[in-house]
Amino acid sequence: MRPFYENLPFLSIFITILCGVLSSVIRDGRKAHALALAAAAAATVLSAVLLYCVYTRDVSFVYSMGRFAAPYGNAIKAGPLQALLAAAFSAVTGLSLLGGGRALLHDILPEKQGLYFVMTQLLLAGILALIYTNDMFTAYVFIEITTIAACAMVMAKDTGPNLIATIRYLFMSLLGSGLFLMGLALLDSIGGYLLMEPLARAVEILAELGRYHRPLIVSVGLMVGGLGIKAGLFPFHLWLPDAHGGATAASSAILSGVVLKGYIVLLITLMLRVFGLELMREVGVTGIFLALGLMGMIFGSLAAMREYHVKRMLANSSVAQIGYIFMGLGLGTEFGVAAACFHILVHAVCKPLLFLCAGRLSDVSGHHRSLKNLRGSAYRDFAAGVGFTVGALSMIGIPLLGGFVSKLYLSEAALESPSMAAALLTIAASTVLNALYYVPATLAIWVRPPWEEIRDVMRDVKPEDTRFDRSFFAAAALLMGLVFLLGIAYHPVMDVIYAGIRLM
């Protein structure tokens, strides 16, 4: 008899899919919204319980799905790292839907609202499956499900530019998953298995004997490249600013906070469980990650500096932050991967906070998006102003906030690496660049413009927009709490990550 907690990963995926199917028959957007929140809360609680169970027992387990035993069939594998990430991603999804709720019901046509929540639920289920799966082909299927759901979430706000952004996003994503599938086909033909552990053994033997060396490198390259495109790795990020910048606030928050990370988590699983860090270093994948990550950190920030549109600025800053994560992976050590995992958590909390607050600030300023028209908007919704400031300071890396700790860990990991100088210099330069656009943006929302300008902006504001938004306040407060939590109580989180990587 297996202990009950081993059913939790499957249950959390199943509940979210089930609620997604249910949402499709609910006509009323508000009810579907409530159901989506309940499903995300349930997934969070289940993952948190799972985290407690596996972390205190210091185990990870394989849960086979269906009747076929390993090395065939399908399986889930869960340990502390998976449970932690699942809990964080479910919580962030729920909070984004909670905080962006009013804007969402405003941006999306009433008859389409039920369908929007179908997509958010499928997306969450897809991300959870990507975290937990132990089977390569299941990973591919859920990559596609996540892609379609994410594209549908971008186009939910039905404007012309959004449609174009969606189709570009869709084509880039499909290119990514096509490359992944090609790599998978090659790997299956030389490795012979789809479950990760037997496949890892086969890869290890092949690498040791030096047989099929070139097909192995090609398949690693195709899979890693495909996932990199989908995660917005520089220079494959050109679809990202428009797709994330144009969508409704909740979609932007979920897309940048959770979806990009889902692919990176799968990549980490591949690196640690299937190929092994040694092979990744040997074939040069980590070196490429390091170089592209460092370039992304600089060029993402430079692009963000040129933006006047606040949400596109945040989206460009995501490119830089993804660069940090890939830099951590590119160091090729377990400490680097752990630091990257911590940065995944920090960014998953911080960026949704920024997107939600930016969305709220533009809602109280007549739905204007450019920074010029948002001047002084923090006084119209104090909570959004404080939230934006906290998020921006964390992005820059001010102590007591999550961003500081992750930069500290990344620098510490870089110290052991041969490319220490380049990594440290780029972290320093990127920090300065971050400050160069986050500080002016923060100042802009807090500085009162001349009275005539306020009057011009306020002419477009409807009274119901400025009404106090209780659910936004709750979501922003919770996300801010999480940013502080990651910035202050980082030791326990790091311990969980180390345990998770050990038990991968």
Binding site: Y72, F137, Y140, V141, E144, T147, I148, C151, A152, M155, G160, P161, L163, I164, T166, I167, L170, F171, L174, L175, G178, L181, M182, A185, D188, S189, L194
Partner: protein
């Protein structure tokens, strides 16, 4: 060399098709042609997968009257993957076509450069 190509004819054709599809997806400016390129790319992968599981001279893995002899059948796993992959590919194609239709209704064109220009104007 010619024997090697003949031996791996499925893989060679699959790689050529994959290249054609990829180039179409990247270089074509017409959205519909991009989708067609994508379909070619997916078909190439399915061809490769299906050929990987095929064993010369052996039949479909349908077990008759409880007689199980693995050496009589082809490898069924790649075929199963191809089936799943086709389902995914069909749904993705349907989604992109629906999206393209919507774009055409709004803008009256499906040429990407023109669309990007129009969007830029709309935002200014």
């Amino acid at each position: 060399m010619p024997e090697l190509v003949a031996q791996n004819r499925f893989a060679v054709v699959a790689v050529i098709l994959f290249g054609i599809g990829l180039l179409n997806l990247m270089l074509q400016q017409n959205l519909l042609k991009k989708v067609i390129g994508l379909s070619i790319m997916d078909s190439a992968i399915f061809l490769l997968l299906a050929s990987l599981g095929y064993i010369e001279g052996q039949g479909a893995p349908i077990v008759e009257e409880g007689c199980v002899n693995a050496s009589l059948y082809i490898n069924p796993i790649p075929s199963g993957l191809v089936l799943t992959g086709i389902v995914v590919s069909v749904s993705v194609t349907a989604f992109s076509l629906a999206l393209i239709q919507r774009i055409y209704r709004r803008y009256g064109t499906i040429e990407l450069p023109e669309l990007l220009e129009r969007v830029k104007k709309e935002e200014d």
